[in-house]
């Protein structure tokens, strides 16, 4: 079995993979709306699709906060400590 070639074949079918992922994502959210949540410790636990929303904003938030901190405060050139 040539793993490299297998992976390459998958990469070449990127569009099909992406479409499959869209179906999976949509299916997840629909399932979460349909399946009643067994948890109600927090108000959001009974909102269908909240996980999807939270994952997306978490990702954006982390990228924005991290990059801002980087540019405003902590990024330095690679030879900063060499002097």
């Amino acid at each position: 079995m040539d793993l490299g070639r297998l992976l390459q074949a998958m990469v070449e079918r990127g569009t099909a993979l992406r479409r499959t992922m869209y179906v999976v994502l949509a299916g997840l959210v629909i399932a979460d709306i349909l399946v009643p949540s067994k948890y109600d410790r927090f108000p959001w636990e009974s909102i269908g699709g909240f996980g999807a929303f939270y994952g997306l904003i978490s990702c954006v938030l982390i990228v924005v906060v991290a990059k801002s901190l980087g540019y405003l405060l902590v990024y330095r050139s690679e030879d900063y400590y060499d002097e």
Binding site: L3, G4, R5, L6, L7, Q8, V11, M21, V24, L25, L28, V29, A31, D32, V35, S37, K38, Y39, R41, F42, E45, G49, F50, G51, A52, F53, Y54, G55, L56, S58, C59, V60, L61, I62, V63, V65, A66, K67, L69, G70, V74, Y75, R76, S77, E78, Y80, Y81
Partner: protein
């Protein structure tokens, strides 16, 4: 001693013998010692063995109970994995250091009293630093010295705490630390430094990426997890730790999102993951403590696997930066797939090990109604997948093709990764094996539809965010300063400016004093100098003249 062999003695003796061997004999011996260690740890009878009295203080170097066994067994397995991964390395110093380091960590975990713990705590530093130095670059030498100094500080503070604690309570038994004032906080400081809790975190992200490719596996597994063990043992339910843990989890995520060096990115995700464990210790409920212990257990496997994958890339390509890697998935497909098993585990995908342990800590927060902790730890989970599961593999294995055509990693490296990957999947599918080892009965069901749907949505939609922001999430050829800036830049700069300003002031003061002195000297020399009025020599003739004048005067007075 007792009838039971202490695992540290096995490893120290093994390391000494290993130092005398070379070649195949050395390789075989290393594997034999590591395998014997697993057998020994899994057959240890519970109880306190070999207690002895020293200067009236009772020492118990070997306490075997459920909690110490959780950590000892995973340390033992990962020692074998690390030994296999390092099998091709022809550097006796490194192998001796690695076995000695594992022996010290096991000694710390089995220590039943604080003095024994302290001794092994320090030994861990002096053995592990060689795994950094043996990279043999100027950068790793400097990083190793900083590592040594920071841990020396932590060790001194810990020792001070232990002595005060003994004076306060009259015992050095290592159980839950009573809050008697300064002693409590000094010991906590020592433990938190080794757990890399911000702002005491920078030594980890500074030193681990500069260590040898194979040494990083031992480093990533042992020091921080020993610290987590001591926190579970000594400080359960310390409320401060909840928030330190949450800050720590986010701190690691933010810095990992900025990182360019692949092992620095992973090092920041050690900090982030240990944040879950520290927060769990702080919550202190049975669910939370079980969660911390099981997360430490699964963490060691997936983190070692991630470091092994990154190490294999560095070993084969000679490059470590995301901005210089890319397009190698076709050439190192096995490394890529094994790495991804680690990535799915750390991200807590269902069927992978992180899912059955990380969600336990998060669940403990839910049961305690700690909404902010729950939300922020979930945010961390998204950030973890973002950096270790998407950014790192994408820009290392896919992304732009930089013309790299590496070979697949050597067999021993792939085998070691395979063993770690096996445990990641095995624990994910069969969590009961892990739960049965926990110190308290685990009353937790990871695989509920609620958990699975939540986790899958959270992670997959993080992935959506990643691909939408693909242009902006990439690494940049820069470094990010962390709290080590204080002792790498600010303090040297301060010393420099004290030298400059102080030196100038000193010179000015000297000059002012000199001027005064010069004035005094010139006045004195005006009167007492060779031409001074008081220093003139008088000729004998003038003496005779004066005598004659005096005689004449007295004659005159007498006559009058």
């Amino acid at each position: 001693m007792s009838e039971v062999l202490h695992p540290s003695i096995l490893l120290f003796t093994g390391a000494l013998v290993l130092a005398l061997l070379r070649g195949r004999l050395q390789q075989g011996w290393m594997l034999l010692v590591a395998a014997a260690l697993i057998w020994l740890v899994f057959s240890l009878p519970a109880g306190v063995h070999g207690s002895t009295e020293f200067l009236g203080i009772e020492l118990s170097p070997m306490r075997v109970d459920a909690l110490s066994l959780v950590f000892a067994s995973v340390f033992a397995i990962i020692t074998l994995v690390g030994a296999i991964y390092a099998l091709h390395v022809k550097d006796t110093t490194q192998h001796v250091a690695a076995l000695g380091y594992a022996g010290s960590a096991l000694g710390a975990v089995f220590a039943g009293d604080l003095l024994t713990l302290y001794m092994f705590w320090e030994l861990m530093v002096f053995t592990s630093v060689w795994l950094i130095w043996r990279r043999r670059t100027p950068v790793s030498m400097a990083a190793g010295f900083r590592y040594l100094l920071v841990h020396a500080l932590g060790g001194v503070v810990l020792l001070a705490g232990i002595i005060l604690y003994y004076l306060d309570t009259g015992t050095v038994r290592f159980a839950e630390i009573e809050n008697t004032g300064p002693a409590f906080y000094l010991i906590l400081f020592g433990f938190l430094l080794n757990a890399a809790v911000p702002p005491l975190n920078a030594w980890l992200a500074d030193a681990y990426p500069e260590s040898t490719v194979t040494g990083a596996i031992f480093l990533s597994a042992l020091t921080t997890k020993t610290a987590v063990y001591t926190l579970i043992r000594g400080f359960p339910g310390t409320e401060l730790l909840v928030w330190l843990g949450v800050v720590m989890a986010l701190w690691g995520v933010i810095y990992a999102a900025l990182a360019n060096d692949i092992r620095r990115l992973l090092a920041y995700h050690i900090i982030s993951q240990v944040g879950y464990m520290v927060a769990g210790v702080g919550m202190g409920t049975i669910m939370a403590l079980n969660g911390s212990a099981s997360h430490a257990f699964t963490h060691i496997f997936y983190k070692a696997l991630l470091f092994m994958g990154a190490g294999a890339v560095i070993h084969m390509t000679g490059r470590a930066k995301l901005t210089e890697l890319g397009g190698i998935y076709r050439y190192m497909p096995a490394t890529f797939l094994l790495y991804m098993i680690g990535a799915f585990s750390i991200a807590a995908f269902p069927l992978f090990s992180g899912f059955v342990s990380k969600t336990m800590v998060v669940e403990a927060a839910a049961l305690d109604q700690r909404a902010w902790v729950w939300l922020l730890l979930s945010l961390t989970a998204a950030g973890t997948f973002l950096s270790t599961g998407l950014k790192l593999p994408w820009f290392t294995f896919f992304g732009p093709d930089r013309g790299l055509r590496p070979q697949e990693a050597p067999f021993n490296m792939l085998l070691a990764m395979g063993i770690a990957a096996f445990f990641c999947v095995f624990i994910g599918i069969y969590p009961q094996w892990l739960y049965a080892m926990m110190p308290a009965t685990v009353d937790y069901q990871a695989y509920t539809s609620g958990h699975i749907l939540w986790e899958l949505q959270l992670l997959l939609f993080t992935g959506v965010g990643f691909f939408v922001l693909l242009k902006y999430v990439g690494a940049e050829p820069r470094i990010s300063i962390d709290t080590d800036w204080i002792y790498r830049k600010a303090m040297p700069a301060m010393a420099g400016s004290i030298h400059r300003v102080g030196g100038g002031a000193w010179q000015a003061a000297l000059a002012a004093v000199n001027r005064k002195l010069a004035a005094v000297v010139s006045t004195v020399s005006a009167h007492h100098g060779p031409r001074g009025i008081l220093a003139r020599t008088s000729p004998t003739g003038s003496m005779v003249l004066w005598v004659a004048i005096l005689l004449a005067a007295s004659l005159l007075i007498y006559y009058l």
